[in-house]
């Protein structure tokens, strides 16, 4: 188990989440992809923290997990409010501000 493999896995996870954000039109899937990107960053943080032999990165993961949980809660609340009004969660039909 080397640092390289950890960075490799984190990068693959991050790019998967990024492509999910770019390509999907369901807002729920897009939110899940954002979570996947945050998780990849967490993995890289722990890997580098272990590599540098300091505690700081591992403590920062704690904050990232908290922010991610708060973000999911707020995002899903916004999504439910949106669905109540527009009856859809598809990204390409939510373009009212575009016109």
């Amino acid at each position: 188990m080397t640092l390289h493999s950890v960075i490799l896995v984190a990068g693959i996870l991050f790019i998967t989440g990024f492509l999910g954000v770019l390509l999907r039109r369901n807002t729920l899937i897009v939110l899940m992809s954002v979570e996947l990107m945050l998780n990849a960053v967490n993995l890289a943080f722990v890997g580098f923290s272990r590599y540098n032999n300091t505690m700081d990165g591992a403590v920062f993961v704690f904050f990232i997990i908290t922010v991610a949980a708060a973000e999911v809660a707020v995002g899903l609340a916004i999504l439910v409010a949106l669905f109540r009004r527009r009856q859809t969660v598809m990204l390409d039909t939510i373009n009212q501000l575009k016109d």
Binding site: G11, T16, I29, S33, R50
Partner: protein, 160 residues
């Protein structure tokens, strides 16, 4: 998750990958973070996601045909990441193998606390060096809670 069309299948694969990342945390000796990952992500967050999927009853839909800008952004990002991988794997001596040292007796600002596996190290860092971010996190959770309550409240007799 990216290529599948059913949101429930995507959520299940998401749980699988989160548990896999927790296993990697265990392999990196960050046991507390692995437990936290399972509890918060795979437990709370994904249950919330699945609940919303069930609540909204999103049906299986076709994929969006991506625009030119999306294709360009995706290509550039994948290319940059591949470039980073090549640069990393090309020179293995750039980042040697991590070694574990014995933890310091009393950590200070000049000699930061070494990477240890115990939970008390997290508490020590949270309440000394990261006191302000810790309190900001509490404030953030409060703001999120109030925001969700306001968002979820039905405003009767009001035209918006």
């Amino acid at each position: 998750m990216v290529v599948g069309r059913n949101p429930v299948n995507g959520a299940m694969f998401m749980i699988l990958s989160l548990v896999g990342v927790a296993g990697l945390f265990v392999l990196l000796n960050a046991f507390f973070l692995a437990v936290l990952q399972i509890l918060v992500y795979a437990g709370a967050v994904m249950v919330l996601f699945l609940f919303i999927v069930m609540l909204l009853d999103v049906d299986v839909v076709s994929k969006r045909s991506p625009g030119n800008l999306t294709i360009a952004a995706g290509t550039v990002s994948v290319f940059l990441l591949g470039l980073g991988f090549v640069a990393l794997l090309d020179r293995p001596q750039m980042l040697p193998e991590p070694t574990l040292l014995a933890p310091e007796r009393l950590p200070s600002l000049e000699t930061p606390m070494a990477f240890v596996t115990g939970i008390q190290a997290y508490g020590y860092s949270l309440f000394t060096k990261y006191m302000l971010p810790f309190q900001m996190t509490g404030l953030l959770l409060l703001v999120a809670m109030i925001g969700i309550i306001v968002l979820s409240k039905r405003f009767e007799n009001k035209s918006v």
